[in-house]
């Protein structure tokens, strides 16, 4: 079962890895070139982890999971990640 949420819901998992407010990080999609902050993207939560998709073209941007004391981060759909060092 999966439920469509906002990127906001994935921020806890991402902020266990990155020392930034990840909801405000700007992602550019490899699929369609659209850019938006993670908080405005679509997130799907599964037992196995979280999938973040582009709301414009549905491309998988980021997959993140935490299993057996290891983080798994797949960023196949991200062309550019813009992180503000101010936030």
């Amino acid at each position: 079962m999966e439920n469509k949420l906002d990127g906001n819901a994935a921020a806890g998992a991402l902020q266990a890895i990155f020392p930034f407010d990840m909801t405000l990080v700007q992602v550019t999609c490899t699929g369609c070139g659209a850019s938006d902050v993670i908080g405005a993207l679509a997130a799907y939560m599964h037992g196995m982890g979280t999938v973040i998709r582009c709301p414009s073209c549905d491309t998988v941007l980021i997959r993140v999971a935490h299993m057996k004391e290891r983080y798994w981060l797949d960023m196949r759909g991200v062309r550019v990640l813009q992180i503000s060092a101010e936030a």
Binding site: E2, N3, A9, G12, F20, D21, G39, M45, A87
Partner: protein
Amino acid sequence: MERRTLLGRLSWQLGEVVATHPETARAKSITLAPPNWRGHRAGQHVDVRLTAEDGYQAERSYSIASPPEEAPRVTLTVERLDDGEVSPYLTEELRVGDKLELRGPIGGYFVWEARMGGPLLLIAGGSGIVPLMAMLRHRAATGSSVPARLLYSSRTFEEVIYREELERLDEADRMLEVVHTLTRAHPPGWTGYARRINTQMLREVAWPVEQRPLTFICGPTPFVETAAASLVELGYEPGRIKTERFGPTGET
């Protein structure tokens, strides 16, 4: 020159439960005293993690209901989902003095601070009121005069979370307007709306388009999508509409 410090990675901490308060038959507020609380902003959430004796873990996100002004205490309001893995424990089992594992605060996107101005349009479905209540409490705590409207959809009158506090805030502040809609049943003499939120209702309640309200919508996924799509259809700027969907996260 003062340099802003990096947030640092989030890590789990154990917060002691210092108070609990039933809000409705299904919703309960839980006040925690986390040892390392860097302060939060209205609209943010925390992740809560429960660990079973066999090591099985379940994580859920819960919005913070208390305003930043009450830090370092943090209040969550949790609605019990009968088939949930985490919420029945939080609402039925957890006691004052117990410790709860949490990390946060999380998210600077779905956040409102008095200095961001308005007018503010808040749209809540069920327990989606929680982060919006933090915004209204923050607005009241700072004495902000930013005009605000809350449109709050509940199934029944008894299920309206923070009903009395909202009534008090509404009466005490002429810049705030609280509008309820009840979708399943309503008491005799009910004068509010009695149907699901739709485009017509938003046309009546939302600020005029040219006032460019700053909008926050929180509720179950279909509720949020209906409300956001209706506002865009009415001509409101998508860039000033922020959404937070919630629902079962399928960790079973």
